[in-house]
Symmetry: C2
Subunit: 123 residues, 2 copies
Amino acid sequence: MVIRELSDVDTDRIFRALADATRRDIVARVTSREQSVSELASAYAMSFAAVQKHVAVLERAMLITKERRGRQQIVHGDPAMLRGAAQLLEAYEEIWRARSQRIEQILTEGNEKEEGHDRSERR
Amino acid sequence: MVIRELSDVDTDRIFRALADATRRDIVARVTSREQSVSELASAYAMSFAAVQKHVAVLERAMLITKERRGRQQIVHGDPAMLRGAAQLLEAYEEIWRARSQRIEQILTEGNEKEEGHDRSERR
DNA sequence: CTCTCGTATAACCATTTAGTTGTAGGTTAG
DNA sequence: CTAACCTACAACTAAATGGTTATACGAGAG
């Protein structure tokens, strides 16, 4: 559905677009209720142009779409693409999980090496 | 487990770390089989230092861990964190999906701004 | 001990990003 | 028509990114 093959470049764009709290917030907002660019802009402590750029980044990553309505541009989220992004990560996770099992198997046959170190760094 | 609250900064780091094909490949590789940094470096057409930096970015995003073994540093993926990242996107997608439904509901009850743009369900 | 290997880090460079202000164009309101 | 509004875009700046080469340092090998 809509997402078939995602190129590396597309994937880069999607992840990069999501790597900004303002943009994630924009996506959340417009998925909640479609809003014009200026409505969005008024919600953030930055210039209109900055918000407009963020919207452009999201649009380029295909995470939102714009629709011209009168003199304003209405922004709404693209659920299909969002789902696609989620699936993309799920797919990664699954591949990695499968490989982890193989590792485990290899370890249990040729082992002397302990695996369970606790990782929980945080700042 | 392991992933409870992910701050905005953490989320930024995770998405940004994944927004690079080389880094995604590194994560895939080390989840497949743990490898030293120099082993990894030999797999890419770039300098050792560049690869080492990519590894550092992934480590900072908590997507991989390093373990010193003799004079080499063994890199392996952190399945829990990867799963956490996947869940993060799933969570977004779910929120957005729920909100889409609300929109739909609102539209069907309080509408008068209906000008026939095709908003809504068909994903 | 000395040499080499694996890693880390520093200094540098080019490109991109995230923000700014300013300007221009199109659309609606009066 | 004119004024106000919404959007887009250009030009600029500061900071971050992704790469380079060179250097330093710890740990094993001989």
